[in-house]
């Protein structure tokens, strides 16, 4: 055999090449159908399910900047927490209507994103990681100081949600919570999926691949970066809002470094820059943690740690990345 070059494509329509990347696969349909299974097979796991969906949305929003634009943030909890407190405070103030509350959370996070975006476009790489972290920690301290408003370390109490759509109250089993989170997740996913597969998405990957070249092809990178940062923050805020509404409680923890780090871990675990990476990562991380913690409440993270290490060693670029690679190899062999 000789040099492996692609089959002569002169005949093939180039659009097909690009469409191949974006077309909706059966596997995806399956995946989303599968998310409904818990209702039938695991009705007592719905609360966990809703929290997984929330984490998945959070991870997905992070993937936008980390996986696609290549801007690593270690402070994404800032948006998550900001959204959470917004949703929580509105409900506490007496307006417990979930959907409008969620929109408010999104808007608040968007504003926060807009304000911080001015700072973050000026830096990159390690500095960016640390600045995002720093901003998040600052926000955390502010929330802690604003005891009168946020309840500080005790957490925000008295959050009361009205029934969803005036019909479904948030029940002990978490049926409403799960359905609600799932719908929001799916909706957001569709939007973000489209965004990823748009020219804008392509330009984000361009920024990730070579920020120096972008201006030379006439791309105003910093606007793009700010836009995506704001969008990402907005969806993180939605995730936070969801958590506040479904748990009817907000704690400082929503703004903590751990949150930021944990969500990044989930994303990388699943595979950054892969659309489904965040979802898979959140799913596997949270389920693994829940199960391990039940088996061994004191030392479970020993096993979780091993899991992370194993994944990174055997499936570089996360679970999806690794699988993709194995699949490709297997295809070539065949």
């Amino acid at each position: 055999m000789t040099v492996t070059t692609a089959p002569a494509l002169a005949t093939l329509n180039p659009r097909e090449l690009l469409r191949a990347h974006v077309k909706w696969r059966h596997l995806e349909t399956l995946f989303w159908l599968a998310t409904l299974l818990p209702f039938l097979v695991a009705p007592t796991y719905l609360i966990l399910g809703s929290q997984i969906a929330i984490a998945a949305l959070f991870a997905l929003s992070l993937d936008l900047i980390v996986g696609y634009a290549g801007l690593v943030s270690l402070g994404h909890a800032a948006f998550f927490g900001f959204g959470a407190y917004t949703a929580g405070l509105i409900a506490k103030a007496g307006w417990g209507e979930p959907i409008t509350g969620l929109l408010a959370a999104a808007f608040a996070a968007m504003v926060l994103g807009y304000l911080t975006s001015f700072i973050i476009v000026r830096i990159s790489h390690f500095a960016l990681i640390m600045v995002t972290l720093g901003l998040c920690l600052l926000l955390y301290e502010v929330a802690n100081k604003a005891h009168w408003l946020t309840g500080g370390d005790d957490g925000l109490q008295g959050v009361r949600m009205w029934p969803l759509l005036g019909m479904f109250r948030f029940d002990l089993y978490g049926r409403t919570a799960f359905a609600y989170s799932l719908v929001v997740l799916f909706g957001s996913f569709l939007i973000l999926r489209r965004l990823i597969n748009s020219p804008f998405g392509l330009s984000l990957r361009g920024i990730r691949e070579n920020a120096r070249r972008m201006p030379a092809i006439g791309s105003p990178s910093s606007n793009r970066i700010r836009t995506v940062y704001i969008i990402s923050g907005t969806f993180a805020g939605i995730a936070g809002g969801l958590l506040a509404q479904t748990t009817e409680f907000v704690a400082l923890d929503a703004l903590s470094f751990q949150r930021s780090a944990e969500i990044l871990v989930m994303l990388v675990l699943g595979g950054a820059g892969r659309l489904y990476g965040g979802l898979v990562g959140a799913l596997i991380f949270m389920v693994a943690r829940d199960q391990l913690a039940d088996m061994n409440p004191q030392y479970w993270y020993f096993w979780l740690g091993l899991l992370l290490i194993a994944v990174i060693i055997f499936l570089p670029n996360g679970i999806l990345g690794g699988c993709a690679r194995l699949l490709a190899r297997w295809r070539r062999r065949a």
Binding site: D153, D154, L172, L243, F249, D253, R259, A293, P297
Partner: protein, 384 residues
């Protein structure tokens, strides 16, 4: 389940506050070892849930509470290392009508958030308020307060200042340090500048008590030069080991010390030493021990009936002898009524330890007493 009673334990088994859970869990093991695992003909079964995932995550705590109810069909939930966890889970207990026995979380208002909360640890203002009152009584004129800048810290600051002022004392200054704060020298300097006669200190357990104590010592602030008053954390075994003689003379108002003299305590300490490989139990341990005792006794009273309201009613007003002394559950607030001990750090046979030199009996949580006085409390102890 008919044959068994399921008790769900929600504690920070892992993470930053894991040591709390270590203490509490071992105390529970000890109690079961001593009193068997069947009560009123029912087998007691524990389901352990870790709420310590990634720091303090109340959403997790609440989820765990919900799952204990809907999946594990737990009859009683106990534990709650931290205030936010308890507060987040309050509604679960209320909706599911399941008793929730708090064995640590110490913010005063928790029990006012659900009629199914019962507390066997302490409401911080209990010991701290007592300490403040005692300080004023014992003729201390001025005090400076230093607390960690978070819920419990702020609670104790308030409690001490109120009690101290009511007793005629004067607060000459106060400062709050960040929760994460590796170095205290700046605050030590401020304290020194204040030339106050006495200082009240609250820091959470862990590495900070020792660090703070050392910083004070480096500034020449020791009980010899300034009266140092504090909660129990600053004078627990680990802290004292780190502090050394600089700690001699620190006065603390607290609920429990393993040196407390009583047959029951001696047995308790002995048992805990075995389980903890030589370490001595602290207030976390004893609170959990009492928590399980309360559950056992309540079950006996109801003959194994695990109906939530029945159990809560059984618990209300229950009184017994704990390793820390006589304690009871206030039927109005469902919070603990206990003896607060005033102790001084002394050298006992080459080892530093707390020596009780005074005590105030049957102390209630002053915060809720005030709420009651102001009519802010409903008949069953809930916030209006």
């Amino acid at each position: 389940a008919d044959g068994t009673v399921k008790i769900g334990l929600i504690m920070t088994y892992s993470g930053q506050f894991a040591d709390l859970a270590t203490m509490m869990d071992n105390a529970i093991k000890l109690y079961v070892k001593q009193h068997g695992d069947t009560v009123a003909g029912k087998k007691i079964e524990f389901i352990r849930k870790d709420s310590g995932t990634g720091g303090t995550a109340p959403d997790v705590a609440k989820r765990l509470a919900q799952e204990l109810v809907v999946r594990d069909k737990a009859d009683i939930i106990a534990g709650f290392s931290l205030t936010p966890e308890a507060l987040a889970a309050a509604d679960v207990g209320t909706e599911a009508k399941k008793p929730m026995v708090i064995t640590n979380a110490a913010t005063a208002i928790i029990t006012t958030r659900s009629p199914y909360f019962v507390r066997t640890s302490t409401a911080l203002p209990q010991p701290i308020g007592t300490l403040g009152g005692w300080a004023a009584k014992s003729g201390i004129k001025q005090a400076y307060t230093m607390v960690s800048d978070y819920g419990p810290g702020i609670d104790s600051e308030g409690a001490f200042q109120n009690a101290f002022k009511q007793g005629g004392g004067q607060i000459v200054g106060s400062v709050r340090f960040p929760v994460a704060n590796p170095d205290f020298s700046a605050f030590a300097q401020r304290l020194k500048d204040s030339n106050s006669e006495a200082v009240f200190i609250f820091v959470p357990g862990g590495e900070q008590p020792a660090a703070l104590g050392k910083a004070l010592a480096e500034r020449g602030i020791t009980p010899k030069t300034m009266k140092v008053l504090s909660s129990g954390e600053l004078t627990n075994d680990d802290a004292l080991k780190g502090l050394g003689d600089a700690a001699l003379g620190i006065i603390s108002g607290w609920t429990y010390d393993h040196r407390h003299k009583s047959a029951l305590n001696a047995e308790f300490v002995k048992g805990m030493n075995e389980l903890l490989g030589g370490r001595n139990p602290d207030q976390f341990a004893v609170s959990a021990y009492d928590g399980i005792h309360l559950i056992y006794e309540a079950l006996k009273k109801t003959n194994g009936n695990t109906d939530g309201d029945a159990l809560i009613n059984a618990m209300k007003g229950m009184a017994w002898e704990s390793p820390r002394g006589p304690i009871s559950i206030d039927p109005e607030t469902r919070d603990i009524i206990q003896t607060i001990y005033l102790r001084r750090v002394e050298n006992i046979g080459g080892q530093l330890g707390n020596v009780e030199f005074d005590k105030v009996e049957k102390v209630k949580d002053p915060v809720k007493e005030k709420m009651k006085a102001d009519g802010k409390l409903t008949a069953d102890g809930l916030a209006k």
